[in-house]
Point group: C2
Chain length 444, copies 2
Amino acid sequence: MTSSNAISPAAHRIVVVGAGFGGLEAVHRLGGAPVQITLVDQRNHHLFQPLLYQVATASLATSEIAWPIRHLLRNRPDVRTLLARVEGVDKEGRSVLLEDGASLPYDTLVLATGARHAYFGRDEWESVAPGLKTLEDATTIRRRILLAFEEAERESDPERRQALLNFVVIGGGPTGVEMAGTIAELAQDTLVREFRSIDTRTARVVLIEAGPRILPAFAEELSHYAHRSLEKLGVEVQLGAPVTQCTEDGVTYGGNRLPAATIVWAAGVQASRAAQWVDARADRAGRAIVESDLTVPGHPDIFIIGDTAAIAMPEGGVVPGIAPAAKQQGAYVAAAIRRRLEGAPGGAPFRYRHQGSLATIGKRLAVIDFGRVKLRGALAWWIWGLAHIYFLIGVRNRVSVALSWLWIHTRNQRSSRLITQGGQALRLRVKRKEASAEAGRPEV
Amino acid sequence: MTSSNAISPAAHRIVVVGAGFGGLEAVHRLGGAPVQITLVDQRNHHLFQPLLYQVATASLATSEIAWPIRHLLRNRPDVRTLLARVEGVDKEGRSVLLEDGASLPYDTLVLATGARHAYFGRDEWESVAPGLKTLEDATTIRRRILLAFEEAERESDPERRQALLNFVVIGGGPTGVEMAGTIAELAQDTLVREFRSIDTRTARVVLIEAGPRILPAFAEELSHYAHRSLEKLGVEVQLGAPVTQCTEDGVTYGGNRLPAATIVWAAGVQASRAAQWVDARADRAGRAIVESDLTVPGHPDIFIIGDTAAIAMPEGGVVPGIAPAAKQQGAYVAAAIRRRLEGAPGGAPFRYRHQGSLATIGKRLAVIDFGRVKLRGALAWWIWGLAHIYFLIGVRNRVSVALSWLWIHTRNQRSSRLITQGGQALRLRVKRKEASAEAGRPEV
């Protein structure tokens, strides 16, 4: 196709599916190139996933970490943004098939459709142990956490009350660590003075990790530091304890049964269906196995990047599914497309540069693993905070998030403690005895 | 009951149902009184309704106009906050009956349960013409407005495209006027540069009022000013045109049929069921007809205030269902209860002091009717804006809303243009032709 591009570059049509970190970076880097870009996403917003756990824990508002995609690209007349769901790809006909029956012809296709959380084949767990990938996931988890305290306040039966005050986070990666730490702070700190019947400090937050340590992607010393820090916050960390059952009223792990109304799933992800759309070989997580130039074997006109691609690293293992990696791939693809349009020879294979791993532990601590340099504690937290504010898009949201954090740290006020989603809002997740006619109504 | 209170005031139990402007004001004014207060609400947050239309039009985030009730009362150990739904009142047994079978005994009951929008017996219209009373209402309307533009961008059929770009607001009160003006600004201003296939300025915004003029609660000259100002913004105002039909694809009014994918209901409200709970006489809107001291006839221990009470005014008519009126009633009830606890004689009947009517028209104009003094235009808008920021609770939200408005007015950025509510997010509200196998997939 390189030649065909060289012939009429102006007509070169690029379809990018997914406006996450990878897809958006590719579009940005293609600015000014003689191409027509169509960016397709099933949501109308780009989401800053690294801070999604703060929406789930009432620290940030949804609009503080999400931007309308077409607003981000308003100054790019060469880019058309479409809100639509993709259901497949016609590789021979070179068109993307949309769920509503339409199709999008392309000369070059970039698939950057990300990943969802996975339940290792136990999909029935999703309803009781929601994961954290979308704004709706976050507001659902927020609703459940806040409701658990509300219901505990009303609960007279001690066992059910404790079950409502037990919070389980499954998965010891950064998201799990950050969720567990923040839930512990809600219970130990933010909410303490606001309830009359319960002492929110009696809440138990249990972080369950199947592996031998939390934050496995970090140096062992940082894992241990994070582990100790979580325990200081009041989080119980359970290692080497795979979860064997999740139900509406609790979890079973390593032979133990823990009654809990609130379970958060932060273990394992499953790539989007992009690999299936193009019949590419995939690894166990469903990630398409791509060439070293991020194209699909046999299809140089199709790139797959981000969490939905499996890219082997020379040093072994695959590129991690994190924002910086996706951005590097988006930039690489943009450069590769530019070279092709100029009829230049293909460049060097994609090479991932790991810039470091960051994770916060509650409100004022963090761990950062830069490889040679390792940071922990308050300094790491400041670097983490400033880095995240820097990476937010636009002054408006930087100011807004900075203010929200200022209030959390100085006034201990979390800005979005809202239980929304109407009808469900009062669903009790731990069964209560029905008031029998004879017994009459229990007074509360 | 006055005597019984006099005997053991410390034991006096007050149940307040509803944490809106009226209920919350009553609780605040009872601070320090020898009572035990239980505040019951079916939501966990107090909502600043006057700015709800700005959430519906993507100008403000939900958390900027809503506060967790128990956080507002964290320094009031005498107040217990309960998240629960009330289903009735046992007047003889003096207890509030909760939906989940429990009951709340009271010595004095304050019902401040507000109102919902009403469809004059055409409840089937609610699904196609949502009203604006809760945060979910607002995010639903926001989703529909933003989706309409997204779908229009994809629509090839000119008729369906225009139907997607037709926005109907039913009801010419302040909410209707504010909704219509802001939708017009979205189309004429905010969104203009962001679409490639459609010109958002071709959107039609139609405000339909059954009566002879919009803003009937205002002086006639201000109504006419608002009318002209809306037309300058591009809003078509239809007067004396009662709506006779609302369907998924349009409205019928005064004999005309207007195809429209987005319909917003801002006409008429129906009081909550409080009157039925206590078998009180009610007016046509379901508002309980109360004594001049806001108690239920024959039940001096039950107060009904706010939008769910019909309070006759000496000068004729009833007290309007607006925030300042509800607050005055809350304050009056608190004072009346204090008098009773002291065994003092009942005070003067409730007297409503109208402080003025305010309404904004789009981004920089407003009308204010103080009675003798009448303001319009930019000055009125500044007064409106400062007044609303002043009445917001807490520095955090004042700063946040001020910032959001600053960005809207200086950068023309609206902070929360998010289409959420997951699964439904891509539902098309105007039928599209199915792509038939023969016809093949239409390219877009």
